[in-house]
């Protein structure tokens, strides 16, 4: 009946050192208004000067999404009044944005769907208004004012919340791969607005759309879109019309509601900013940046599968976060470790700890070097798999090094044949009845004997060797 048509506008904060038009710092978390210089404050007489790194980052993005890079793009003023917009206008791009006509693929149930990206343009971020600090006043912090943003606008090619989240995650991964943004949704360096409308399945005529702002997690994007689709369906089912408006997503109530602010009535009166000249980007510069592009997710995926013989599934997990894929490769570096088992260890063991505690790679308490050590001990048979898991838990929780834990707890796996033979002899002696049953044909008892040897050794015996020696002894006893 109703088909949803979704387009996303993503605002990505670029991780430059200084702001897009001023040399003030962009670092997060500074005390209010300590990183707002004269230009950011919009003092009388100040002028903007464009940050070259922001331009390069935009070009990188454009190349990565196969877009056209404009040789002479223009900055425009978007005029409106709001206290966190110091100049009374935002410097943005209107006609002639720096990047246009790109695309990115998403995986929809095993099929590739191409999502077109209409444009990506540079603009400055506004400051922050805080409304709940004082009773009768709102307060303004302009530290964020002037931080460079790239606004990525997709065509309305997304058909449901799941696709939208996939697209969002791909862009998120991409900007981190390109090292142009932290992509931190909690800190606000990656923000998403969704435009949602419904249309009849058999019609090409688009419905009236609502814009949902203020969605700052992947989960909320999914919820917001689903809620909105539901809300609009109900309106249309009742024969009414959807109002074209801006709505806010309320994550607590899990609903969208209409914004009361006057942004609706605004005529932004865009015109080219006379304080800035057209940004001249030569083809040479574009070529240069192209040659120095970091390895992008899709290329990395191909390489991982090829080089490490990993499955598609495992690779997808490892590469989604660039830092994790780097961590993985660093673990493997200069070791004999098996890539597949290493990948498996990371995906099953390490990630379960990381995900449970929401720890980012850069904050892992276990360094890649230490994990490599641990896995090498395992690989060489000095510890068992079970022991390794126990040691890892200690490494993760206490930050200890594997060799220290092993020494302290004397965990070293016993592989000495003589020692183990002693234990095997003990077990056989103590369970001679079961041994007889085994020799009579009850093969299942073998596992029991292994378990008993392990118990005798307090878990330290190398299971492989136990197996081998047990088999030999029992064979001989026959």
């Amino acid at each position: 009946m109703w088909e949803s048509v979704i387009g996303l506008e993503i605002h990505v904060q670029l991780k430059t050192q200084s702001k897009i038009f001023s040399p003030a710092s962009t670092s997060f978390g500074a005390e209010q208004n300590t990183q707002a210089c004269a230009i950011d404050l919009g003092l009388p007489g100040v002028l903007p000067v464009l940050n070259e790194e922001a331009v390069k980052m935009a070009i990188k993005l454009g190349i990565a999404i196969g877009a056209s890079i404009e040789n002479n793009s223009i900055f425009a003023r978007k005029n409106y009044f709001y206290p966190d917009l110091p100049k009374g206008y935002q410097i943005s791009q209107y006609e002639i944005p720096i990047v246009s006509n790109g695309s990115i693929d998403i995986d929809v149930n095993g099929n590739i769907k191409t999502i077109r990206i209409t444009r990506a343009h540079l603009e400055e971020d506004a400051g922050k208004s805080i409304h709940d600090l004082y009773e009768n006043e709102s307060v303004i912090d302009l530290n964020r004012a002037g931080t460079p943003l790239i606004e990525i606008v997709s065509e309305p090619d997304l058909s449901n919340a799941e696709e939208a989240v996939k697209y969002l995650k791909n862009i998120h991964s991409l900007v981190r791969y390109l090292n142009i943004s932290d992509g931190n949704m909690q800190e606000g360096s990656f923000r998403c607005d969704a435009n949602i409308s419904l249309k009849r399945s058999n019609s090409s005529e688009l419905g009236i759309r609502a814009e949902i702002k203020n969605i700052n997690s992947f989960k909320f994007v999914e919820q917001a879109i689903n809620y909105e689709i539901q809300r609009q369906s109900e309106i249309l089912d009742n024969g009414k019309s959807v109002i074209q408006e801006t709505r806010l997503f309320d994550p607590i109530k899990n609903e969208t509601r209409s914004m009361r602010s006057k942004e609706e009535a605004n005529d932004y009166r865009y015109f080219p900013d006379p304080d800035l000249l057209p940004v001249s980007i030569s083809n040479d510069l574009i070529e240069n940046i192209k040659l120095n592009m970091p390895e992008l997710p899709n290329k990395k995926k191909e390489r991982f599968i090829r080089q490490y013989k990993l499955t598609d599934y495992d690779t997808s997990i490892l590469i989604l976060d660039k830092d994790l894929s780097n961590y993985y490769e660093k673990v493997l570096e200069n070791t004999d470790l098996n890539p597949k088992t290493t990948a498996n260890w990371i995906i099953t063991e390490l990630l379960s700890y990381a995900n449970k505690s929401n720890t980012e790679v850069k904050n892992y308490p276990v360094t890649f070097g230490d994990l490599a050590s641990l896995l090498t001990y395992l690989h060489e048979g000095l510890i068992s798999n079970k022991q390794a898991k126990i040691i890892f838990e200690k490494m993760w929780n206490n930050g200890e090094k594997p060799q220290d834990i092993i020494e302290k707890e004397g965990i070293k796996q016993v592989s000495d044949t003589t020692e183990i033979n002693k234990l095997v002899d003990n077990v056989i002696k103590n369970h001679y009845k079961s041994v007889e049953e085994y020799l009579a044909g009850k093969d299942k008892l073998f596992g029991f004997f292994v378990g008993e040897v392990m118990k005798e050794s307090k878990g330290k015996a190398n299971p492989k060797i136990v197996n081998k020696l047990l088999k030999e002894k029992l064979k001989n006893d026959k």
Binding site: A38, L41, G42, L43, P44, G45, V46, L47, P48, V49, L50, R77, N79, F81, P83, P86, K87, G88, Y89, S138, I140, L142, K262, D267, R269, Y270, F271, P274, D275, L276, L277
Partner: protein, 485 residues
């Protein structure tokens, strides 16, 4: 002393014939004695100026002398000055003290100059008569019942009255040249991008330029070299090398081809025409070829200007919202009221008028017909100038259609006021340099001659101006009222 040129003063200071302190005090005394009649200053920085003068004198005794050490200058109150109020002639910035210096101010300070005060101006540089200032009208020293021109009325009047040897101004549609013409002094507007706009409170960003008032072309040339040059803080400033304009302008005069647009002579006042023709004859008999040219669409300059300037200013003035600095209205119940009351009380009528026109011109549905159209007219006007400069070196004409008008005469007729800029606006639209120098009198009020050059041809226009001043003495005439004061 008050009639000495910059060069003369420079020599006196260097030769220790006079100290900076004495010189500064001298002009301060003149200002205190005379300026109440003119109202050309908003702020007089007596203590700071004398303190700096003493410091400079001490440096001079140690042998540290800078190019313009110890010479006082007045800054138009549109240039941000650290520790001195910058009001822009408006209630909105009545108590505003900038935390930084404009680049122009920095450069002149570095050259050793002493800021003696901030001059009065039309509010936010919008006006042609200095009658819109929150701090009262400025009077023309030649006739206290007449306007000095605007928007840099205070800067012009103070130099004309010899209260100061030189001052800075800004020119968006004629705001240096027209007051220079009406007060009988030299005023130069350089090529767009020649001088940094950083710290110069913006009116119309693509038209504004900082410039100089002096009594002689040579003095203009000296100061122009000091304020010119690329500024990394101003993206629209030019990297083109800055010549020694003084050297260039005193070079032996070479033949020049001078163009006179017939459109500038259309319907010209008969006396103005007569005076202008005398100047033309002087050029003719002194090494210049005169050629009639046509700037067919120059008249459209006023219309285009009345769109572009307000449009840009409507956006530039949005920052004055009472939140972070400037005037904030009391007793407001919500943010909308804060904006509306602060801006309505803080801005004068002319400013409000221009903001409204500008907002309209940029609004949806009107952008193409107004703003875009005006920018296209700009291209046409610019092309016409370029074609003309293929045939001639410079273009001349009267700076203003008439001499100074009476206070209040045009205040209620904005259109008449705008039309007084008819000869000057097209140069701003095209970004060309132009100077106005005294050329004679009508009814004992000064008339100015405008010389327009091609981009970055300041040397040519200064050279021609100097040549003219070697052959005439209009620039040495003093307002007679001063004798009676």
């Amino acid at each position: 002393m008050e009639n000495k040129t910059l060069i003369e003063l420079k020599t006196e200071i260097q030769n220790k014939k006079i100290s900076s302190y004495e010189l500064t005090k001298f002009f301060l005394d003149r200002i205190k004695k005379i300026d109440s009649k003119l109202n050309s200053f908003i702020t007089i920085t007596e203590n700071n100026a004398l303190k700096k003068a003493k410091e400079i004198d001490s440096e001079i005794t140690k042998g540290n002398i800078k190019p313009l050490s110890g010479i006082p200058i007045a800054q138009k109150d549109i240039f941000c000055t650290k520790d001195i109020k910058t009001t822009c002639g408006s209630k909105m910035l009545e108590n505003f003290v900038s935390p930084y210096d404009a680049t122009v101010v920095e450069k002149l300070n570095e050259a050793g100059m002493i800021i003696i005060g901030k001059t009065n101006m039309d509010e936010f540089a919008m006006g042609s008569s200095n009658e819109t200032s929150y701090f009262g009208d400025v009077k023309n020293p030649w006739d206290l019942n007449c306007v000095p021109g605007g928007s840099s009325g205070g800067s012009a009047a103070s130099v004309a009255a010899r209260l100061i040897p030189c001052s800075t101004g800004t020119d968006t549609g004629g705001s240096i040249r027209q007051p220079a013409s009406l007060t009988g002094i030299c005023g130069i507007k350089p090529t767009y991008g020649r001088v940094s706009r950083y710290g110069m409170i913006a009116f119309a960003s693509s038209l504004d330029q900082a410039g100089i008032f002096t009594r002689t072309a040579k003095d203009c040339a000296i100061l122009l070299s000091h304020i010119s040059g690329y500024d990394p803080k101003d993206s629209t400033s030019s990297k083109k090398e800055v010549p020694d304009y003084y050297k260039e302008c005193i070079k032996k005069f070479e033949k020049m081809k001078i163009g006179i647009p017939e459109e500038f002579l259309d319907g010209l006042d008969s006396k103005v025409s007569e005076v202008f023709n005398e100047s033309v004859n002087i050029f003719k008999s002194n090494g210049c070829d005169i050629k009639k040219i046509s700037l067919k669409n120059s008249k459209l300059g006023v219309s285009a200007y009345q769109v572009v300037a307000p449009a840009e200013c409507s956006s530039n003035l949005s920052r004055f919202d009472g939140v972070r600095y400037g005037f904030r209205a009391n007793d407001v119940n919500n943010i909308d009221e804060l904006y509306k009351k602060s801006r309505s009380e803080g801005f004068g009528d002319e400013v409000k008028r221009r903001i409204l026109i500008g907002t309209y011109a940029l609004s949806t549905g009107y952008y193409d017909a107004y703003y875009l159209k005006a920018q296209k007219i700009r291209t046409i006007i610019s092309q016409e100038f370029q074609n003309a400069f293929k045939e001639v070196d410079v273009i001349i004409g009267p700076t203003a259609p008439d001499c100074a008008f009476k206070l209040g005469e045009k205040l209620n007729d904005p259109i008449a006021m705008y039309l007084s800029d008819i000869f000057t606006v097209s140069t701003n639209l095209a970004g060309l340099p132009a100077i106005s120098i005294p050329m004679g009198f009508k009814n004992q009020l000064p008339l100015g001659l405008q010389i327009i050059g091609n981009h970055f041809d300041e040397s040519k226009i200064l050279s021609l101006s100097n040549h003219y001043q070697n052959l005439t003495d209009w620039h040495t005439q003093k307002p007679k009222i001063l004798g009676a004061i």
